[in-house]
């Protein structure tokens, strides 16, 4: 079994992400958050299990569904919330919104919402790391939809060709918006594509945080040793609608049996149970951790709401060209 303090650290992040996104979902209905939000509720174990194995100066890239990755990598919660509220104190000064989080200090170098868009950029960062000879690892999060874009295949090839220090993390939640994976891809698993390109690749249960942690730990080690890129496909499921704060199973696009199956596999509930069953932590301690997380979230919301809105700069050239 992992050390108690590591397990608790996983739990703290997991619960912080879950509660943050639940708070966003709730606040969304006040209509002060005025941008699309793609929540990771149900998929958080992957972000946490992977990022716990990264160092502060390792680098992460992500997609439209980026809140969990940002928080797991240690991104500043206040600035994330301010960004979602469109404030000048936001991590992108309000220009990007929820889909464009960034925190360079925390090693979260950015998220973009065009499918497959940040993937080659992450690869380029890894390429430069290799040229510079440093030991930093890069992890790039993608969805199952990305595996359908040409750039995905081009990147896998290039990564192997140059033995780049990058970890591809595919969160396979079975859906692209309302469309099931089987309507979009042949039955071969996604990780097999990476394997065929010649890199280490595995498919694991993304809702089992310990499994995510374990495989990430060994694979990131492998990457750091300069043994080339690796690919992890994690099976998971989102609880809520593709974009927005609500549940949308009334639309009937997901098989109810499938939904039930995955709700039972909720990573937060199950990890809680694990920690209690194995007496890693007492219920009271758990409550305390939850309270601490709630405190952080309340402060972040407060920070966001109290922050000023950005003002439009007159000379826009300053905004688009570096000196």
């Amino acid at each position: 079994m992992m050390k108690k303090q590591n397990l608790i650290s996983l739990y703290k992040k997991l619960i912080l992400i879950r509660l943050t996104e639940e708070a966003i979902a709730l606040k969304y209905q006040e209509r002060e958050i005025r941008c699309p939000v793609h929540l990771s509720i149900g998929q958080e174990a992957i972000a946490v299990g992977v990022c716990e194995n990264l160092k502060k100066d390792d680098i992460v890239y992500s997609t439209h569904r980026c809140h969990a990755h940002y928080i797991a990598k240690g991104g500043d919660l206040n600035r994330m919330m301010a960004e979602i509220y469109g404030k000048v104190t936001g991590c992108a000064k309000g220009r990007g919104g929820s889909m464009h989080l960034v925190d360079l200090e925390a090693g979260f170098w950015g998220a973009t919402p065009i499918v497959g868009n940040s993937l080659p950029v992450a690869l380029g960062v890894a390429f430069a790391n290799k040229l510079k000879g440093n030991k930093k690892a890069v992890a790039v999060f993608i969805g199952d939809g990305t595996a359908e874009e040409g750039v995905f295949h081009e990147c896998l090839n290039f990564a192997v060709l140059h033995k780049l220090p990058i970890l591809f993390v595919c969160e396979n939640n079975l859906f692209s918006v309302y469309t099931h994976l089987k309507e979009r891809q042949h039955t071969r698993p996604i990780y097999k594509i990476a394997e065929a390109h010649g890199m280490e690749a595995y498919q694991k249960d993304g809702n089992d945080i310990l499994e995510v942690y374990k495989i990430s730990s060994s694979i990131i080690d492998h990457i750091r040793k300069g043994q080339g890129p690796a690919f992890l496909e994690f099976m998971t499921y989102r609880h809520r609608e593709h974009c927005g704060p609500f549940y949308d199973d009334q639309l009937g696009y997901r098989d109810q049996k499938e939904v039930k199956y995955w709700l039972k596999k909720d990573p937060v509930t199950n990890f809680k149970k694990y920690l209690l069953d194995h007496k890693v932590i007492l219920e009271t301690e758990m409550e305390k951790i939850k309270k601490e997380a709630m405190g952080k979230i309340t402060r972040a919301l407060d920070f966001a709401k109290k922050s000023k809105f950005p003002k439009q700069e007159k000379d826009f050239r300053k905004l688009i060209y570096a000196k």
Partner: protein, 356 residues
């Protein structure tokens, strides 16, 4: 005549073409899903089956090429993207192949396909989900580009686009989807390459397209109160451009203002002003002007987007400036108007709840 939303009009057009011509098929992300591309494709799967109304992998570039191939081989594909921004992944196929095929192989095979794009705006869409790239497409020889503003034109232009033997880029706008207007029930065409004078007037010609027509018509309410009578030309088609209608109007009014939501530099408005300026028969009373989006990306924050998009007030102010009319009276009218109209600037109407 029935009245319908813009979205329903698009839906009727697709329905009508699928019914009429077996070679038509509709493909795109979410085409058969519960939202049906904002409603444009709703119900079509049920009527015409999965072989003609279909979803696709998230593979914009490949599928564009696939549609080109299918078009060359006798089909009439309609490919949809829910944002203009997503179509950028397919620029190679669109620009290098679809636009040139007919020319570069000696006029032997043409590419009768439609690419339907939606422009996003407001609700924090931000830099990668709300680009107005009509200029980009209109720059490419071999493409036709249409961007209707009314439900009636939307239906008629989709039908024309599908029946055209060339690649047509059909651009709609998220804020037009719920607008309402008369739509004939039959299978009718609005010709590609034909502008429409939607408001007769004598003082100034305002040339506009797509969603900017809505803002322009709102500006007219203010201007009419000042006794100013603009003529409004709805281009409907950007490429090929209907110069004649523009020229005729500007000859009459002697003044030209172009409103368009693409970026200013090298944009649609720049092209129209050039054409008018090049015409030796047109004598302008005052220098032509344009109202466009600025030359930086669209921001997400509502505080920034509020100043990003040109609105009806900017149009009215510009017209008053060009005509040297009463600015103070306009300012008062605008203040009154803002008082009675409290819809937030980043939503098309009060009911809009996002998220996209």
């Amino acid at each position: 005549m029935q009245s319908n939303t813009y979205t329903k009009a698009m839906n009727e057009a697709l329905d009508s073409c699928l019914k009429k011509d077996k070679s038509v098929f509709v493909i795109g992300l979410g085409v058969p899903d519960p939202k049906g591309v904002f409603g444009a494709t709703s119900g079509l799967r049920k009527k015409y089956g999965p072989k003609r109304v279909m979803d696709m992998p998230v593979s914009e570039n490949a599928l564009t090429g696939v549609c080109i191939g299918a078009a060359i081989n006798g089909m009439r594909p309609v490919l949809t993207h829910q944002r203009v921004d997503f179509s950028l992944l397919a620029l190679d196929q669109v620009i290098n192949n679809a636009a040139k095929w007919y020319y570069m192989f000696g006029n032997q095979q043409s590419v009768p396909m439609v690419i339907k794009l939606t422009v996003g705006m407001g609700w924090g869409q931000g830099p990668q989900h709300s680009q107005n790239l009509q200029t980009l497409y209109a720059h490419i020889p071999g493409l036709k580009v249409v961007a209707p503003a009314t439900p009636r034109d939307a239906k008629g232009l989709i039908i024309s686009a599908i029946e055209d033997n060339n690649p047509v880029i059909f651009i709609d706008h998220r804020w037009l989807h719920e607008t309402f207007g008369p739509v004939p029930e039959d299978h009718y065409k609005v010709p590609i390459g034909k502008a429409n004078v939607i408001k007769k007037g004598s003082d100034i010609t305002i040339v506009s397209t797509s969603y900017m027509i809505i803002e322009t018509m709102k500006a007219l309410n203010l201007l009419n109160e000042l006794g100013i009578k603009p003529e409004v030309v709805d281009l409907r088609t950007l490429k090929p451009l209907d110069e004649k209608t523009i020229f005729n109007s500007v000859k009459k009014t002697g003044r030209l203002l172009v409103t368009d939501l693409s970026h200013r530099e090298f944009g649609v408005a720049a092209e129209i002003i050039s054409r008018v300026s090049e015409n030796p028969k047109i004598k302008l009373l005052t220098s032509p002007q344009r109202i466009t989006a600025p030359d930086f990306p669209a921001p997400s924050s509502p505080a920034l987007s509020e100043h990003y998009y040109p609105r009806y007030t900017d149009i009215a102010l510009k017209v008053v400036e060009m005509l040297e009319a009463d600015k103070d009276r306009l300012a008062k009218l605008i203040a009154k108007d803002k008082e009675s109209n409290k819809i937030p600037h980043d939503v098309p109407d009060d009911r809009f709840m996002g998220p996209f």
